[in-house]
Amino acid sequence: MAGITFQGVGKTYAGNVNAVREVTLEVADGEFIVLVGPSGCGKSTLLRMVAGLEEITTGQISIDGRVVNRLDPADRDIAMVFQNYALYPHMSVRENMAYGLRNRRTPRDEIARRVDDAARMLELGPYLDRKPRALSGGQRQRVAMGRAIVRQPAAFLFDEPLSNLDAKLRVAMRGEIRRLQRRLGTTALYVTHDQLEAMTLADRLVVLNGGRVEQIGAPLELYHHPATTFVAGFIGAPAMNLLDARIEGGRVMLAGHDLGPARGPEGAVTLGIRAEDMHPAETGLPMAVDYVEELGSGRIVHGAIDGQPVALALAPGAALPAHLALHIAPEALHLFDTTSGKRLPDALPRPARTGVPA
């Protein structure tokens, strides 16, 4: 078990395509790190560089203090779980799990012991002699996990392992992966494009965009203090509302309403507001209601403020009028630079909701 260090890691493909740029990250021993971002953001490439499936163009990756840039995948002491499981179709579940150990000349009784342990842990005992084709999607997923577990590697690498499962199974497997990782205490790097999956699994999230790291932090830290408009729009469902506003005379102004004090430079600014931070009131910011999504436990109201689309999260209740007036607490405002998308100093000191210093 070991930590993983990224030092200025970059990947350039032929034709000067920069898939990953300058990633620096310290993963602690036993930590569960989720790499998240839209498709093409470089998260898979980054993971595959750790695995040794992609060459590292610049920088260094170390596992357990050892630089692995030039090492063969088999020598990096990692195990990987693939999106399509990549089980060997002609081998039984037992053979699939044992193959890597066999290639490492692990003694036979040791292999048997580890496979049995893993099978017990994953409840795969009854299926050990079946071929992958005779298993359900969830069971195949477990076998893929089992194959990683028996190796007792320094780190687990997960490449969108739940994407091929249906929604219900995905939630169940998510819990299982988290439990297993805690129990084994093995460092894990996990790639997903699903921000909900990322939030629920991670000790820390790494949000990637266009090959660059946008922000690294605990899930709630990212939720409450997104460093960029990209993170604000990516983390959370519904995404944070991002509106064109202005700072005038030290006040945030939207549609002629004064929303509170601001420390940023005067002029155009991007204003971020979480859907749950806006509340209907007697007077306030006018919102035209377009349509309502009833979720049962709550409702999402879609509409527009000042002609800009917004979403609003409300408790279930009576029918809504076509026009709402909204109250927003000044400390719920997030301000971003309009051109760079970077976060501006807070309008007001924010109560530390996460317990993590920002």
């Binding site: 499936l53 990549a86 060997y88 179709p89 002609h90 193959y99």
Partner: protein, 280 residues
């Protein structure tokens, strides 16, 4: 749903009859005596001379030197068919593996060098091929019979397509599992290709067994004659004889078509799959 019209069945029955009846008649006629055929024409019902005719064709030494039997020709055809199919599978799987799974500088030129062979069938370069074979002293050898037919990329093409359709992650998982190139090939890729290999074996066996021109040129020693070569011989002998040995010619034809026919019909599903798609 669509209605089934009797006309459809009529067309199919007619088509099937046109294709199958001549084969049945060839078989039926082979069980009659030459004289009967000479008098009455071809038969659709089996006769009583079958055992004697087939016994004669299989065991009687014939040909110009009186050395080759039908059984020997059957064996030679088998050697050609199986040898060709196995050789093709081994060579082309290995070549396709190198082309798909390795990064090496000359891969593209080699790819083209191999795939250009698809451009020109053996028939257009038959004369110089013969000369090359005689320079290499390979006339009248099994090597000369089989190996030159392997100089074509069909099998390589099939396997290349197949290997490309194998998920990338399988190789990646195997590499993380510590498998090198040889081990990955033997442990993963070969077992994975079993269906594909079987389908190609069937197609190539039929192709090799049915070869005509090449064996005809390569073999002057009757000990190497295949059944196809025997057909040519039996027809040449006819010139001048009173009543041609129709029955023996038919018997030889039946012997020559039965093995590939059986292979194709028994493994019909696999054969069609192998022929029409390389999608597994």
């Amino acid at each position: 749903m669509q209605k089934i019209k009797p006309l459809d069945h009529l067309i199919l029955i007619l088509g099937a009859a046109i294709l199958i009846v001549p084969v049945l008649m060839a078989f039926a006629s082979s069980t009659h005596s030459a004289a009967e055929i000479h008098m009455n024409g071809l038969y659709l019902a089996p006769g009583s001379e079958g055992v004697a005719t087939y016994h004669k064709v299989l065991t009687q030494r014939g040909g110009f030197t009186g050395e080759v039997t039908g059984a020997r020709m059957l064996l030679n055809s088998l050697i050609l068919g199986v040898g060709f199919a196995v050789g093709k599978i081994v060579l082309s799987m290995m070549a396709a593996y190198a082309l798909v799974y390795f990064r090496f500088r000359l891969a593209t030129p080699i790819f083209w060098a191999i795939f250009t062979t698809l451009l020109l069938p053996l028939e257009v370069r038959i004369m110089p091929s013969y000369q090359v074979m005689s320079q290499l002293h390979l006339l009248n050898t099994y090597t000369g019979l089989i190996v030159p037919l392997l100089a074509s990329a069909t099998g390589t093409f099939y396997f290349r397509q197949f290997f490309k359709s194998v998920p990338d992650e399988l190789l990646e998982a195997a590499r993380i599992d510590g498998a090198g190139p040889v081990r990955f090939f033997i442990d993963i890729l070969v077992p994975l290709s079993r269906t594909m290999m079987a389908a190609i074996f069937i197609i190539m066996f039929v192709y090799g067994w049915n070869q005509y021109l090449w064996p005809m040129l390569m073999t002057t020693d009757e000990g190497f004659f295949t059944l196809m070569r025997g057909i040519k011989t039996i027809l040449q002998v006819w010139v001048g004889s009173q009543i041609p040995d129709y029955n023996e010619a038919f018997a030889l034809a039946v012997l020559a078509m039965l093995p590939p026919l059986l292979v194709v019909l028994v493994f019909q599903r696999m054969f069609i799959k192998g022929l029409t798609e390389s999608d597994k």
